[in-house]
């Protein structure tokens, strides 16, 4: 048994803690995300507002908790969709081979050629700003990443002796895929999903920050940070905490992915 990695533990705690906060936001948030208290505008951290308040007197902690909901919902949904589509295409290309694989992987190369944020911006330029477009944009970005990551290991598996043995004994391709190929890819899938979530969170927050993501009145951490710049000199607290929340969300998944990678691949 190898010694446990403290970073993996930190990552797991961060991810679970923040996911729990996102899920429980409506019950644990002290105020509604849009509840205004005009008399308590731009307050710093205090007993009534643990993380202070913004220029409308809205509670920063409550807005961050609801912001986590938006951030996690969009990032998780789009990365899982990308895993399904991209991972599926990658494994299909590996198992089938031939011209189909060439066409699929060339298409992936083309998508992969776009810088991440630019591809996301291009998708949003076509679909218009909003939460759904942001989700689709992030999904499109990660499809080629999953296809490329899973194709290599799936190719190796296809050539493996026990797969050949299964095939020789008359097991159907579907059964081989389900029984032998997919379970063996689970480690790589976990690592890549976790690392992708880490960057997808940053992409979502960047797009919101640029005004291309979730539109008002839905609470969004990136837009909170962008709006807080208008009163930054008067009160930096909203900027400090909303940015820190984005960092912690991304950091948790990255530590988790990094730790899992070490566990599955001791060489790294």
């Amino acid at each position: 048994m190898r010694r446990s990695n403290p970073l993996l533990v930190i990552g797991l705690v961060l991810v679970l803690g923040q996911a729990l906060m996102a899920v429980l936001a409506p019950w644990i948030a002290p105020y509604g995300p849009d509840a205004q208290d005009i008399l308590a505008r731009l307050h710093g951290p205090e007993a009534a507002h643990w993380l202070g308040s913004d220029n409308f007197g809205r509670d920063t902690l409550s807005r961050i908790l609801f912001g986590y909901r938006t951030l996690f919902a969009i990032s998780v949904a789009s990365v899982l969709a990308a895993l399904g589509v991209g991972g599926g295409l990658g494994v299909l290309a590996a198992m089938r081979g031939g011209w189909l694989a060439v066409v699929v992987m060339r298409c992936m190369d083309v998508l992969f050629a776009f810088p991440i944020i630019l591809l996301a911006i291009a998708v949003i330029a076509v679909l218009g700003p909003g939460a759904v477009s942001t989700g689709i944009a992030i999904g499109v970005v990660y499809v080629p990443i999953f296809a490329r990551t899973l194709r290599g290991p799936a190719l190796l598996l296809r050539e493996a002796d026990y797969i050949a043995a299964a095939r020789a004994s008359g097991t159907t391709e579907m059964k081989i895929l389900w029984r032998h190929v997919l379970p063996n890819l689970s480690g790589i899938v976990l690592v890549q999903t976790s690392l992708s979530l880490s960057t997808a969170i940053l992409v979502e927050a960047s797009l919101s920050f640029l005004g291309l993501g979730t539109q008002p009145p839905t609470a969004s951490l990136g837009r909170m940070l962008a709006e807080s710049r208008n009163f930054l000199v008067l009160s930096p607290w909203v900027a400090v905490f909303s940015g820190a929340a984005i960092l912690l969300a991304s950091l948790g998944f990255n530590l988790l992915g990094d730790g899992l990678q070490e566990r599955f691949d001791p060489r790294a």
Partner: protein, 321 residues
Amino acid sequence: MGHTGVLNALTRRLGELSVVAFGVSVLSFLMIRLIPGDAVQIMLGANAEVTPAQIAALRAKLGLDQPMVLQYGDWAWRALHGDLGTSVWTGRPVLEEILPRVGVTAELTLLSLAVAAVLAVPLGCLMATARRRSADYTIRLLSIVGLTLPSFWLGTMLLYGVAALAPDAQLLGWVPFGEDPLGNLQRIILPVIALALPVLASLSRVMRASMVEVMRQDYIRTARSKGLSEGSVVGVHALRNAVLPFMTSFGIMAGYLFGGSVVVEQVFALPGLGRLMLGAIAERNYPLVQASILLATLSFVVINALVDVLYAVVDPRISRA
């Protein structure tokens, strides 16, 4: 090793490059055609004075009244001759609007890459020499924090910090280097820090991994057993071999830098390509958006191909394979 090896690698890479470039151009071309609803209507906005004749004119100008394949051929032919379309609002060629902005983005991204690369080499070597487990974990935690630090947050915090300490500092906007070199550098420092830090974190991790790999090799043991000092083993023998894989990650970094500069330009009000593109999206000036994304992506593709080719030229093992 013969020249044929390098030549083969070059030809293969050129073939892949043209396939990808073709695909990128098709996707960029399709961008305007994929807009749900009528792109022309959207571009003209809710302008009640638009006559059907004007709509038909713009449609003809964009070539939207022809079959797709013809449209693409026509568009690609003109793009290859430097005509990337006209801006919907100003009526000027989009290239004329893009070119003056390239300098700002180029200065920001190149300076960031240079700063990050120069600092990453000693930092990565230092990280590679960490022997104790606790030190290793601390370094990893810090480098991952650096990786995940949102550049728009870092930029905002830097802006606030410097504004609080030195209220008179000129931080926002842009002056050309030729007009006012000091003013130019003063305004670019914070954006460069914000953009470079995640790159530094990423590059120093690559440098560390590369260094760790090299230090395991036999020739390092030989160098040590010859009685060379640790400094000269690391500095001369290991570094030279570790830097090569490190350099190849510059190409991937270019993609991050292009995207990151969109965000950082917005934070610091720098008039670069990123802000031009965001403004164009807000105005639904699609030809300008299309051309910016096409040019940025093609340069990213070319940079990556160049890095690969350089690597093949420098490292004979690659071209022989």
